[in-house]
């Protein structure tokens, strides 16, 4: 069995895959990679199934040791990295000889980078997923973020795994967005026209109170015109809630499954991975689309991601 040793975990590094949707009745949110498109591309670079377990690094990378030879890829925000002192490029497959050291630095742009290793990280699944659920302390590596000295078991990989990289035009097409497309929320009528205009016209800033549970945005303050309490109801991933004090919160992968704040809008499926690349002080805006447009975009992206030749060289 080969392994990966954590010499330094960086700010927050967890094991993530596509998560465990389907347990809302137990109050369990799906968790999973904050940027699942990038996770998928990283895995496919090393020949893994798209949703294989990988390491999700947040804002800063870490230092990892490969005692045995390994094939890996870094995908996501631009975290500068070196393998045994030599720079390694993002979005490409690399081969590490035995006793290698991979050092991943802090990023200046974006928030998350994925380290996919051929053969995947071997973690006993919980409810069908290796994803770490930090809030409840289950899934992933002992239900927690990685620490110095942790040893992760790696799966076997084919010696024929070939080195390749992502096409620059594919990268351009899948680039994370700062203008997030949204559909109207179930309580959109709780807000007047002025508020809706402000919501679509103004720029919001991502605050430091942002994590895998949700993204808190600062100014402009939005108000519901209906001064009443919402009976708590199920809230989808990407729901944009407005609190009575005017704060705007976007529910994220470790979200509460139900909530009592009115929802003005919801980030569309194709733009959810972009939320995983937002960092504190990023400026974002919202753009309203119809449910039909959102679905067309989803189908188009779904088809694009199926195609090997459009993605890799």
């Amino acid at each position: 069995m080969t392994s990966l040793v954590v010499e330094s975990p960086g700010f927050l590094t967890t094991v993530q895959d596509f998560g465990r949707p389907g347990h809302g009745v137990l109050g369990i949110s799906a968790s999973g990679a904050a940027d699942p498109i990038t996770l998928q591309l990283g895995n496919r670079l090393v020949g893994n199934p798209p949703g294989a377990a990988a390491l999700e690094m947040t804002l800063t990378g870490g230092t990892f040791l490969f005692p045995h030879s390994a094939v890996f890829a870094l995908a996501g925000a631009d975290f500068p990295a070196t393998l045994n002192g030599n720079p390694v490029a993002n979005w490409a497959t690399h081969s590490a000889p035995p006793d290698s050291k991979l050092s991943v630095g802090p990023t200046a742009n974006g928030a998350r980078c994925y380290l996919s290793i051929a053969g995947g990280i071997q973690i006993p699944p919980f409810l069908g997923s290796a994803s770490t659920h930090l809030l409840s302390g289950f899934g992933g590596f002992h239900g927690r973020a990685l620490r110095r000295g942790d040893i992760l078991q790696l799966g076997a990989f084919s010696a024929a795994t070939h080195l390749r990289s992502l096409r620059p035009d594919a990268l351009e097409r899948l680039r994370p967005r700062k203008i997030l497309r949204v559909t109207g929320g179930p309580q959109k009528h709780w807000f007047d026209e002025t508020t809706h205009r402000a919501f679509l016209k103004n720029t919001f800033e991502v605050t430091g109170e942002t994590n895998r549970m949700g993204l808190r945005l600062s100014a402009p303050s939005l108000r519901s015109v209906l001064n009443r309490e919402l009976v708590s109801e199920g809230a989808p991933l990407g729901a944009i809630q407005v609190t009575p004090s005017g704060q705007t919160i976007i529910l994220f992968v470790e979200q509460q499954t139900a909530g009592g704040y009115p929802k003005i809008a919801n980030v569309i499926g194709v733009d959810l991975p972009s939320l995983g690349q937002l960092r504190p002080r990023d400026q974002i805006r919202f753009q309203l689309v119809s449910f039909g447009e959102a679905r067309a975009l989803w189908l188009e992206q779904h088809k694009f991601l199926q195609s090997e030749e459009l993605l890799f060289v």
Partner: protein
């Protein structure tokens, strides 16, 4: 039943608009119908007091088609019994360090702490749904004499097992999480264990009862 798209991949089905037993029974039956059918497009179900959020695969189906499918599935819902099949007994050490808000809650309610405990433990509650955190059950209805608003500012961390009240609801915090409900006691039971089957001690639709225990009983149960 009314439907409203919640996102490009989910639809809310509303069966009522008021928290209570009537809406809960409809939620319970609708949930069972959909769970039993397990349609291939279904990705997740998030029930609440008066609604079920239905998450679907947009490659397979549209909002309108989900609505049609759910309306058709719901036709068989009247045959489903919504009588609780289980009663869960929760031992609670009330007050003191276990329930730091009991005294203040009693004062606000113009009741003695002992009376608050008696009223809380005298009722049978229904687990309306699970949310907030894994295994966190919204239990109702609390006797009207115990209704209080949430704390003005939530605690950063509530100890796991804390028994709390807010509005018409009572609940037990399964994990140490932030929380804005008033803490009146604590149970030694583990509410959610990934290695147990079933994982959640309380499930949607269960009947739940609380009973006071001594410190000794609390400690013994904690060790068990």
């Amino acid at each position: 039943m009314e439907f409203c798209p919640a996102s490009d991949r989910s639809l809310l089905a509303y069966v009522g608009n008021e928290i209570g037993q009537a809406a809960h029974e409809k939620v319970f039956r609708l949930l069972r119908c959909i769970e039993t059918a397990q349609p291939s497009w279904l990705r997740n179900l998030q029930p609440a007091y008066c609604s079920v959020l239905i998450c679907f695969d947009p490659v397979q189906i549209t909002h309108d088609e989900v609505e049609t499918a759910v309306r058709s599935l719901a036709k068989s819902s009247k045959k489903i019994s919504s009588v609780p099949s289980r009663t869960v007994e929760i031992p609670v050490r009330y007050g003191g360090e276990f329930g730091p808000d009991l005294e203040e809650a009693a004062a606000l309610l113009s009741l003695s702490p002992q009376r608050v405990v008696e009223l809380h433990a005298a009722s049978a509650y229904r687990a309306y749904f699970l949310g907030f955190a894994p295994g966190f059950a919204y239990l109702g209805d609390l006797p009207s004499q115990l209704e209080l608003p949430r704390l003005p500012s939530p605690r950063k961390e509530v100890p796991a097992g804390s028994v709390a009240i807010a509005g018409k609801q009572t609940a037990i915090y399964p994990f140490a999480t932030p929380g804005g409900w008033r803490l009146i006691g604590r149970t030694p039971l583990n509410l959610f264990r990934p290695d147990r089957d079933p994982m959640s001690l309380i499930r949607l639709g269960d009947q739940v009862r609380f009973h006071p225990v001594s410190l000794e009983e609390f400690v013994n149960a904690e060790r068990a």
